[in-house]
Point group: C2
Chain length 348, copies 2
């Protein structure tokens, strides 16, 4: 029922996804039975693999998370997540209210191990392919251990979602030397380097390395990640606007712009953010599809959920989380001399 | 002597700057006398306004700041900054080693008030004009008071460099509500809002507001600022590369690209970062010009230094710094309930 378009997008997206997914995949559609039945009327063929679960109520797109939590029980979103907890579904996909989905998922599914909050992860296009980037806003204050948890979750996610056997991982910092950055990031660096976790950790990366594609997974705290992501989105919007005005600056430029239009359209497609963002660290798979999703976007989010469900993703995260205490013990304590040098700041 | 090209760029840049600067402006050129004299040979007219100060030694572009500090005395960079301290010069401009300039300036000129380190400030092109953005890397750990100091310095700089009588100021955060973000940023927000500093403070801004030009001055800690700046630079490079490949994807697109070329060149010019970055918070004006500077870039950096020198910039910073203790007392203490809510993170 969620997203800007509700069942008119979600139902045909589910039908579209079924066409390419293995026979073993089927859907529970939670929401208003009459509306969903009507939307399904045109797709008789899919009936055997789609089951409707009626829900009386819906969480509004602008509802505050706290309110969604109070009155959430029995809504389509609540039931969707609860079906995962009860083992009726392997993964949940929603285009509904992000804050509500985050809060309800955390309450119903609970976090893996000592994790406190689901991380928001995004997939960035890069010069070499795609990079997984997290946390982009859920966890504003992060100690070293939290950053290492993000590395564990991001690595497992990248393997499951992008099919790379051994993704490389980098920690976002203001320079590449060991002594750069604040204490949390240097401590996480030590744990990842010395802690013998089965992760291909490449060390510190800088802001411009995200789009260079230097590593497969870029890890940072939710404050820095959110600011970096939005800064890049802003830069993109700025450039698109400037480009449009540069290309309308005269007759020749105009003709040029018209001729270049198809190429520019492909360019824009390549830059548009992927529609699906999983909530990482939950005991269960929850994929958030953006609210303005088209049929194609929602079908793609379903595909991400299926990829995660068919991978060893959750078990890998749990296994590596169990190794974390040993990794923490393994990593040598901070060297005060290095700490002192680091307080000199980034003087590049 | 600094930068990738040394006197072959700096000397003609100084001559070029003299042509547009008032008669009262003159230069001390610190460095190897023979080299500078040779470079000046083609510019007889400028001789009366340029004085050569011979320096035996030069700080290398790849020298570590600590080493530069130890063996810096008597180098052209050291003498340039010392001339400011001694009142022989009003401002210093260098295209040399950034870390060395930062460290030497801090040692020789010392910081204003209780400031600990010079802030690195950059000027971003925006949809509305330009935005001053700081700190972009010098101060990795920042408490609330440091962030307020950046606001004071950035505001005075923006007025001096960009001629706006009352620049607006925003604090970078992951959302615009009071309860968003970590403790330091929320405390700085309270001080700027309630502390009665003579600053037009507009509240929190987000990453994409930098290039939107929502405020004239965007304030953040050196870690976040460095990551955001480099992320935007990376996004720009990514987009330029993608665009080039999109525009070479076929005969029509190619013709389009050729016709659009002058417009695209103007676009690239608009996006190239400004060559001059002042070190803010020193008892004296020091402007860093980027190492790869052209003659035009260095002349522009000289212009920035002159603008700062002719403004009330330093006195304004000092006045507002003196008001800071009262502002800190004025701002009410943090509300624990709000703190609690904030730990829920950015769940947008």
């Amino acid at each position: 029922m969620g997203g800007d378009h509700g069942p008119s997008v979600v139902v045909p997206a589910a039908v579209r996804a079924l066409a390419t997914l293995p026979e073993s995949v089927s859907f529970l559609l939670h929401g208003d039975e009459a509306t969903i039945t009507a939307a399904l009327a045109h797709h008789k063929g899919a009936a055997g693999r789609i089951e409707i679960r009626h829900a009386e109520r819906v969480i509004a797109m602008d509802e505050k998370p706290a309110q969604a939590l109070r009155r959430g029980k029995g809504t389509s979103m609540w039931n969707t997540v609860e079906a995962v907890r009860e083992g009726q579904a392997t993964a949940a996909v929603s285009a509904g209210n992000t804050g509500a989905l985050w809060t309800i998922s955390r309450l119903i599914l609970r976090m893996v191990g000592d994790l406190e909050r689901p991380a928001l992860v995004t997939t960035m296009p890069t010069l070499k392919g795609v990079t997984t980037f997290l946390d982009v806003g859920a966890n504003v204050d992060c100690d070293a251990e939290r950053l290492v948890e993000f590395a564990i979750m991001g690595e497992a996610f990248h393997r499951a979602a992008h099919g790379k056997a051994k993704p490389t991982v980098g920690l976002l910092n203001v320079g590449s030397e060991d002594m750069k950055g604040h204490e949390e990031v240097r401590e996480a660096h030590r744990i990842l380097r010395e802690g013998k976790l089965p992760i291909d950790y490449k060390g510190f990366v800088e802001g411009d390395d995200i789009t260079k594609g230097v590593v497969d997974v870029v890890v940072t705290d939710g404050f820095t990640g959110n600011v970096a992501l939005k800064s890049m989105e802003g830069a993109l919007r700025f450039i698109t606007t400037e480009l449009r005005s540069a290309l309308s600056g005269g007759v020749l430029a105009n003709v040029g712009a018209i001729l270049a239009r198809p190429a520019l359209r492909r360019f824009r497609d390549r830059l548009s953010p992927p529609p699906a963002a999983p909530l990482l660290g939950l005991n269960g798979i929850v994929v958030k599809c953006h609210g303005g999703a088209t049929e194609r976007d929602f079908a793609q989010s379903i595909q991400v959920a299926v990829d995660l469900a068919r991978s060893d993703f959750a078990a890998e995260i749990e296994r590596n989380m169990r190794r974390l205490p040993a990794a923490l013990a393994e990593a040598p304590a901070a060297d005060p001399a290095v700490d002192e040098a680091a307080t000199q700041g980034a003087q590049e």
